[in-house]
Symmetry: C2
Amino acid sequence: MSFKTIVIIGGGFGGVAAARALRTAKNCKIQLIDRRNFHLFQPLLYQVAMAGLNPSDIAIPLRRLFTRQKNIQITLAEVDRVDLANRKIMYDGVWHGFDYLILACGSKHFYFGNDDWENHAPGLKTIEQATEIRRRVLIAFEQAEKQTDPLAREKLLTFVIVGGGPTGVELAGAIAEMASRTLYKDYRNADLSKTKVVLVEAGPRILAAFPPKLSQVAAIYLHRLGVEVLTNARASELNGECLRVGDRLIATHTIIWAAGVKPSSLNNTVATEKDPQGRILVNSDLSVPGHAGVFVIGDQAAFKNERGEFLPGIAPVAIQQGRYVGRLILNQLRGSGAREPFRYSDKGIMATIGRTKAVVSLGSLQFSGFVAWLTWVFVHIVYLMRFRNRVFVFLQWVWSYFKFGHGARLIVHKTWRFYSGEKIRN
Amino acid sequence: MSFKTIVIIGGGFGGVAAARALRTAKNCKIQLIDRRNFHLFQPLLYQVAMAGLNPSDIAIPLRRLFTRQKNIQITLAEVDRVDLANRKIMYDGVWHGFDYLILACGSKHFYFGNDDWENHAPGLKTIEQATEIRRRVLIAFEQAEKQTDPLAREKLLTFVIVGGGPTGVELAGAIAEMASRTLYKDYRNADLSKTKVVLVEAGPRILAAFPPKLSQVAAIYLHRLGVEVLTNARASELNGECLRVGDRLIATHTIIWAAGVKPSSLNNTVATEKDPQGRILVNSDLSVPGHAGVFVIGDQAAFKNERGEFLPGIAPVAIQQGRYVGRLILNQLRGSGAREPFRYSDKGIMATIGRTKAVVSLGSLQFSGFVAWLTWVFVHIVYLMRFRNRVFVFLQWVWSYFKFGHGARLIVHKTWRFYSGEKIRN
């Protein structure tokens, strides 16, 4: 049995799961490559954007994650090209060979061709985007406090979220709640209870991945929080001043993008068949057709399940696929060629609305309200349990739950002069 | 008694103390202006730079600080000019009048005329600078892990701190300890125990403000942590590659500036006498000569005590001066013209070296070692007790003290491509 080189690109849910599954692998070099030095728990990213959590509460250094797993080598690098034919990848301007390759680079925001929208409507995929959204929301409140013209103030207190998926719903609920339940008492001039949050969904209902009943419930919860939900509504134009939805022109300074995603641009360098969204079409064992040693998992892959449906781009899928591929390679290293097809076991989906409500769909079982919220918290805590930060996240939640506090409410990394963008004098 | 407008510029130690002292003031408008939306506990900023604490552990939103003190109005703005003669200040391009003015804008780094050094040797005054220093240190370790050439690696593992005051000493100790006690086990190729930290002090000894005995003790502690201390050594040239100290040329990618400071540039717009460093010379009641209603406190002021010595730019001075001026104005509002001269009661000074040692000087009482470190922790906790974050800071300290963890070890807000500075593709 010869020495093998296994390369994993991407330290997200899929890549980390694959690396862990290989913990007992011997006589091989396992290299985990990421351009960031941390693994991010994206499902809670919106709480960083809403100043409820610190970045380090939901991000853990990859090296810390694998301190004890000595067969993993972590490389901080950005992979520029993949050469399937010659089994090579390029980073830092040099080609590096591999025997097995796992592509787990995830996805990024997609503005349906309007890339210029990104400046006006940041998405929520990275820590930087989360802190940028936090900054914009808080600065809007600050500007409103200084603003004396009622219309200008109303515009500043209007927030639009594009995309009615879990992220959009969670953001909409959080902004409405933060303004009316937490921050309002800290402002002397602006009446934050007048904050208007609009959630724009192109489809007929929000939370389209959920059963219709739960979509309705979620819409009701949002309505109670004062969120206006627009369905069958597509954002056709937007800038830093306003947004067009159908024939309606909404005046706002703060737009957040939670709509489309597309796979990592690395896919463009992979010479194989893709689906219309650019995801790599994979075999039943997640390998790339014609390349038994190359696997694609998570948002980067287009995988059809037994019922011929494409699996959604959610954490559980990436985790199960990573674990599957890790074990498959482990068997290969041990000389077994057997390749059972990958099967996704659906653990259900959930979304939270504000600090006391959620909707949960577990196969036939569906429920909502406070119990669903507790379920949501429990599931997320359990996942974070693996992380060092668990204690603090939990305490911080408990604390801010009772205090209604948003302690991470700091405007950093840009001047508060949002519109002019001038540099701070220091 | 007529309605008065009191303006406080700066939400640091001095400004906040003044605002608090005015909590019972009536029939007046008190406006606290800061260009940031938070108060920063600067003495612990180095722990943010060393990934030991999160920004929000040591920063608290000004609005939260004054939620209950209803007579304070907070304005997020940057003041551009002060017109003493006409009792006006300008911000957002508009002049605003005042009856009483408290200048508490603090100081910023001074590169002795070499302003271009700032890019290569960031200082440690703001949250952004702290996270930038964190980023540079962590990236140096990552580059070292990838680097195969031993000399290049040694250069990457060399860190130079310019300035042997408390901040410089604390940073030097923290970097050395972090590398050799925490991070070393997370790197497979680079031997972080080979990390070299050099502390460069222009004067004859580090911690010049302390008694010579304690300077010696601190130097010994640093030596034990593997820090090389250079005294009577002035940095004459530096860039991103190396630094000249006397006739010695130190090869390093990471230089941190902890040497000179100068008062806020706002002083340039204040038409009154300054000392050579640009600090405003104030009367015994901290008022500006000829302007009984205008006061300057903290790093921005040059105040001579009874013994004719200028007070140092440290938090206790700013706090006591703020409290003094607040009370003075309170008396004025109540019709009393009495103005006792300000007297600074010296509560002593302390500096910590690594996670178990410190030096403390309380007048005639001087001690060092673990007890001094406990004293240091106690004093800082007590101060932070006023803050919502106290619980987490304390827990985080206890935790990382036992875990030797640096959980906030995230490289964010710039691409990891340190040298090329290319944008991340996402």
